[in-house]
Each structure stands twice: as C-alpha cells, then as structure tokens.
Amino acid sequence: MSLLEITDLHVQYRTERAVGNALSGLNLTIEKGEALGLVGETGAGKTTTALSILNLLPSAGHVISGDVKYEDRSVFEMSEKELLDLRGDKIAMIFQNPLTSLNPVFTIGEQISMVIRAHEKVSRKEALERSKQLLEQVGIAGSRIHDYPSQLSGGMRQRVGIAASLACNPELLIADEPTTALDVTIQAQILELMKNLQTQYSTSLMMITHNLGIIAELCEKVAVMYAGNIIEYGTVREVFKYPLHPYTQGLINAIPNLEGQRDRLVAIPGVIASSENLPEGCPFHPRCEHCSEICRAERPALIKVAENHYVACHERSGELL
C-alpha cells in the first residue's frame, strides 16, 4: 500500500470568464519515506495537485473525476473530522509565499501552537514551549516567539512556516515552491534545513518546484508535469540522465552547464498550453519537434519504459517498446 495514491484526477476551475482544466487525468503515488519532486512550469497544475490532496480546493475548483487516496482512504469521502485529523497532523503543507501565508495579527508562537493544540490535548503553555523548541530547531531564537510575522524577514517567515508544518510530526510534507519567493542565499539555507529535517523526521516529502536543481538535491523520484498531467516519472537519476519526453529534455537542456564544454542553451519553443483551451491529443504537440499525426489526435498514456521510468509520449514509448 502506498502512502498516497492519486488516480485519474480531473480538476476544473470554473470562473465567470472561462472553464479551465487544471488537472486532466493525473496519476501519482508516493511511498512511505519517499521524497518526490513535482516539477513543471507555472500553471501546470502543481499547486492544484497539492490542494486536492488536502481536499482544500478553492470554491471555484471542482473535482470532476478520479480519486486521492491516503492510506487507502479517499480524501473526498472522509468526514469533516477525519479531514481535520489528516490536515496538519498526517499531511502538512508549506506554502509558496511566506509573506502572505502567515496571519499578520497573530504572533508566530500562536500560529505554531495552534497546530499543536488542534491535534494534541496540551495546555496553551505547553504548546508555546514546544513551539519555542521548534523555532530553535529551524534556526530562530526562541525569544522571538512573541514576534508578529511583520517583524521577521521573508526567510525567517518561511522557517516559521516549516516549523509549523513539522509541529505534529507529519507522515507527508508537501512543500509548494517553498523557496521561490526568497533570495538565492536564503534559498540554499532553507533547502539545507529541509534536507536535514526530512532525514531527521523520516517523513515523506512532495517537493513542488520548477527548479530542477532543488529536486536533484532533495528527492529520489521526480514527476514532470505538463498541462495538468504527469508526462514523465521515475527516479531522479534515471530521468535526469536519460530524459525521454521532449519536454523534459527541453527542461534539462535549459539549465546552463558550468563544467565541460559550454553549448548554447536550448529554449523550448512556444508557451505552455492554456488550461482553458487545451490542444487535442498530446497537450505538448504544438511545441514538439517530433510531433506526428497520432500526437495531434490521441493523448498518450504514461507507459513504463524501464524499471523506475515512465513516459507519456507516442514517439518515445513506441520507439522503446
């Protein structure tokens, strides 16, 4: 049994202007203790995936079909109470923007201890004491427990976010681009911290990012998302060494090479497919140089090409099979 299993998940956003298909048939599993990187451009559906796992989609978001199972229990069928036990305790989430994800009118101590007090029967004082320890663990002096978020820098606020997410020792930690809003030097510190904490707490990790470097650093598995779908999945070593999907190849070619011979960077032509107007067939086909007739007509399925390597591409899977 996998820790988390997402099967054929379709999520739509319905707004006044249009209907957008944020996720179209997403399949993904995370095993216990595994660190998975979810990579893709802005708008590929990464955050939607994360919010679906917690059953916390905004009111415009609708699950059309498919399921998210946590330890074999569908999160969409859980009672309100079960969901409350799941969120924060079993699955915790670190948000992208530390400037907006902390409540400005509560002290950081209150915000960390509210998680503890939501899941464990402890006194206010005890919860604060534990929050203090957590703060020190993430590198903030315990004396700042009565500070308000506005008194902290962006990096420190993200540390608070991490401390709050670790408060109840979760089995799965979802980190939604935790370093995107931070300076590069701070990014490195935060990643270092997360790496240490993940090994220390032995939680499973779902790292959402568009930075391949972060994934190479932190994760064992990687899933590449494009237009609401996983298009390539496998171990980091395998996928980075032998990328098969033209999109993954494009992503890897777009990283500047600092050693050896320096080639010109290759950009992926075109722009990401609009969720409101997905192309027929393979959503990547308008940008793909290997595009053939079948790519325009039929959506490719995720096919196993090697042990620990899956790809959704007519061209590649046909070649290898």
């Binding site: 919010l51 969901l83 989430m93 009118v105 509560f106």
Partner: protein, 307 residues
C-alpha cells in the same frame, strides 16, 4: 516604537485642533452682521454698536482677537450665549452627558447587531442570510435619519404605544433615539464586516490555517474574525464624528437634551457663540476619540506602528 507613534499622533491632533479653532474663530467674523449688533436690540444706534464692538474687543487687529479667543478657551471661557445670557461652557457641559449617553448606546446597539450580521453574511456570500444582511444594510444606509426617527415614533410610539417618543431619564426613553441613531451605523458595520470577511477568507493565510487541520468554524470565528474586526474598529472610530453629527437630527426629533438639540436651537436663535463652541467642542471630542482609536488599534494590530 509605540511611544513615538503616540507622540506623533498627538502632535497631529494638536495641529488639527488648532486649525479647527481658526475655522471656529473665522466663522463669526464672516457673518454678514457683526456680533456686536447681534447682542444689541434691533433699535440700537450705530454709536451703541460701535461702543459694544470696543467692549468686545472687535476693534483690535484679528490676531489679537484670536489670541484673546484662544487664551479664553484655555481658561474654560467659550464666550457668552446671547440667548441664555450665561457662560457657553456651562451650557455645553450641561448638555454633553446626554449626547455621550445617546451615542454610546447607539454604537453599542450598532456593534451588537452589525458585527455578527456582517461576519455571518461574509462567511457565506450568496446565502439567504447574506441576502437579508445586505438588504438590512442597504436600507439602513438609505434611510434619512429624519424619516427613520419619525417612522419609529409613528410605529412604536403612536400605533403600537410601546415606547415613549420623547423624554430623558428613564431607560426606556433612550431606546427609540438610540435605535434610530444606531441603525445607519449598524448598516455600515454589517457591510464592512461582510466585505472584510470575504476579503480575509481569500487570503493565503486562511488556506494555510485550514491546512493545519483547524476546523472551518474555528478558523472563521477565531482567526478570520480578528482579521476582519480590525477594519471595523478603525471605521467605527473614524466615523464617530458623523454619528455624533447625525445626533443633531435625532436629538431634535426626540427632544433629547443633548448637544445636537442645543446646536439646532442655537442656529434658530442666531446664537453664534454657541454655534461656534459646539463646533469646537464636537471637533475636540472627535479628535480625542480618533486618537484613542488609533492607539487601541496599534495595540491590536502590530503592523500600524511598524509601518
């Protein structure tokens, strides 16, 4: 940090009051007929008026007159009422408690009605409760206080014979005036609470709090509530002036012996000293209340002093 903030606000308040005193002082000077003539019977000769002007110091340069006026204020001397022939400060001090009482009850009424309605409506926009809250608020904002007062008298006092339409002292007497006076405020608080709550619920930190496994009910009533409450407190504070001004109409209609009624009568009697002083006193009260609101606010919301 807080101390410096308070000192700065205090300085601003002093400047504002200084400007208000200039406006109050200037008011009487721009009147078409001189205050001296107003104090004398219509039959007074020009010589008598001139003599009165000298007596009142109106022949001196303006800055001297202003200095006299200001130093008078600091000694508690607001001039003499032409209508009552006594000290203005005494008359105002006499009327102030009734006005404060009315405003306090009205605002209490408004908060008790408005906050829950606004918050509930804002947590479920589009629901039936929300519709009625919005309707309640819109009607409240569209009611002229004059008409609302008369309507209340007509319904509760004349037809249903439940509540007295005038009088001061017994507790029942304050119900109608306070309701009339408080309704528009309750309406405004409902609207603020509603839109505030809707804005707060869209924030990332609310999703983050929900993701921590805290129930929706608790997130709404404990966390989002505090976020939404801050603009309400600020608004109520800043609008106190308008509430108090509205009391002119309500006090007149209900014969409530407060500053507003006094002001109305003073206008009718062309009692400039009294009009001038009600203006000044009202502004002073409002400035002090605004100062207090800002200080209280900076205690609730740490961002204010830091910015």
């Amino acid at each position: 940090m807080l101390f410096r903030f308070i000192m700065r606000r205090l300085g601003q308040t002093v400047i504002v009051l200084f400007c208000v005193s200039i406006i109050a002082f200037a008011l009487v000077r721009i009147a078409p007929s001189s205050p001296a003539r107003m104090m004398l019977p219509d039959t007074a000769t020009d010589e008598q008026v001139a003599a009165m002007e000298v007596k009142l110091g109106l022949d001196k340069p303006l800055y001297v007159q202003y200095y006299k006026y200001i130093s008078g204020i600091f000694h508690g001397d607001l001039g003499t009422s032409t209508q009552y022939k006594t000290d203005v400060s005494g008359i105002i001090a006499n009327r102030l408690p009734a006005t404060l009482e009315l405003n306090a009850v009205a605002i209490l009424f408004a908060l008790v009605i408005g906050i829950p309605m606004g918050i509930v409506a804002g947590s479920k926009p589009g629901s039936v409760t929300d519709f009625f809250a919005v309707l309640f608020a819109l009607i409240g904002q569209s009611m002229s206080p004059v008409w609302l007062a008369l309507l209340n008298i007509l319904i509760f006092s004349s037809w249903l014979d439940l509540l007295p339409s005038y009088g001061y002292g017994p507790l029942v007497c304050i119900i109608l005036p306070a309701m009339t006076h408080g309704y528009p405020v309750a309406a405004q608080i409902t609207r603020m609470g509603r839109s505030g709550m809707m804005d707060v619920l869209r924030e990332d930190y609310i999703t983050a709090t929900l993701a921590k496994g805290i129930s929706k009910r608790k997130v709404y009533t404990k966390y989002a509530f505090k976020n939404a409450l801050i603009p309400i407190v600020t608004m109520v504070g800043l609008q106190l002036g308008i509430f108090m001004a509205g009391a002119v109409v309500v006090e007149t209609v209900f014969s409530w012996p407060g500053l507003g009624q006094l002001n109305f009568q003073a206008v009718g009697n062309r009692d400039y000293a009294l009009v001038q002083s009600t203006l000044l006193v009202t502004a002073a009260i409002i400035a002090v209340i605004n100062l207090l609101v800002d200080i209280i606010n900076s205690l609730i919301d740490p961002r204010i002093t830091l910015e």
